[in-house]
Symmetry: C2
Subunit: 210 residues, 2 copies
């Protein structure tokens, strides 16, 4: 990659270090409580260097969210898992999704940040929705809509129920520290959700008798 291209993509060694530090600091303390001095220290640069790369604190925050949005929009993983019989695929997928989401504490803190600042930075919340929520809903909805032996009356709405259940569970248990207050076994939830999804579909034609 040429120097010009690197410049166009806003990526340099220092800038990356700054954005990485910004992720840490903003996630840990929130937008306002995070200080430019601490971001500089974590990034191993001076404050002045930050200001030479980013206009101001707000701008740094915007750049961070945009970077995370395009980086974490890794849908290919889900797409390759969503193939085959829902009775086999859904339990595995949802179980795996729950494990992945609950174990990524960096992403957890980042989501706290986005939601917490969504009132003051609506545009950034929309970037998050556009790049991270929308693709998940669309991929799952698409999968449900194209099942050969199952007819879902409203695949889009069904996808909302599925994703909503997963997201709500992780928010309650992990994000809001509700594990001990409202305990719920992960597999119980997955089993119930899968059962609800499958029983709501009409069998389109018997797969045993062609």
């Amino acid at each position: 990659m040429s120097k010009v291209e690197a410049k166009r993509a806003f990526s340099s060694k220092k800038a990356d270090a700054i954005l990485s530090a910004a992720l840490q600091e903003f996630s840990a303390h929130g937008f306002t409580a995070a200080t430019m001095s601490q971001v500089a220290a974590t990034a191993g640069v001076s404050k002045a260097t930050i200001y030479s790369h980013f206009d101001d604190k707000e701008n740094l925050f915007v750049a961070l969210v945009k970077k995370m949005a395009q980086q974490k929009a890794s849908t290919p993983f889900w797409e390759q898992m969503l193939q085959g019989d829902p009775r086999k695929v859904l339990p595995l997928l949802l179980s795996k999704a729950l494990d992945t989401i609950t174990s990524d504490s960096t992403l957890l803190a980042f989501k706290r940040l986005i939601i917490g600042e969504s009132g003051r930075f609506p545009k950034l919340a929309q970037i998050f929705v556009c790049n991270m929520s929308k693709p998940s809903l669309e991929i799952l909805s698409q999968y449900l809509a194209t099942q050969p032996y199952l007819k879902f009356a409203d695949p889009e709405a069904t996808a909302r129920v599925v994703v909503g259940t997963i997201v709500y569970y992780t928010q309650m248990q992990e994000m809001l520290h509700g594990k001990e207050i409202i305990p719920m076994d992960k597999e119980r939830l997955v089993a119930t959700l899968v059962h609800m999804v499958l029983s709501s579909a009409e069998p389109l034609q018997s797969e045993d008798s062609p």
Copy 2:
């Protein structure tokens, strides 16, 4: 109520005004960005008066959350709605719940605040879960478990799916400003969710043939 009782309940005219102002300011700007000067101005008192009622800023925040938790834990409304045939009750209840949640912008901002600060104030997040989330789940779970003509394999998990769907929808559409990005008609979601809940239950015995 005697003066002593009023004191015991930590309620005085000034303290109430301060807590009310704190709700506004913290909700609008977040914990750190909200200033004690602005809280004082909104409450119509001086900063020193705030510090005579509450030890410090953090303490004021804690007092606010505790007050909101006991005030907004208004379950009696839902309890009286949850009576009768689920096929009639659930559509009405869920539709009403969505309307109520999406229209209360004060509560919306407060939830942003709780989630945003849940990393730095885990205890407050737990108070929220304990007083606002847990009761909803329990009441709905109880209702599902006691249906005479429907047998739910796991009422608790089913309640998670229902509440999760509702909460996720309001978070996406309202909290994160996703209305135009991922539009979804409210009634479509309710219809699909109700269908999924009912179709997942086993008919316990015919209600037409006793």
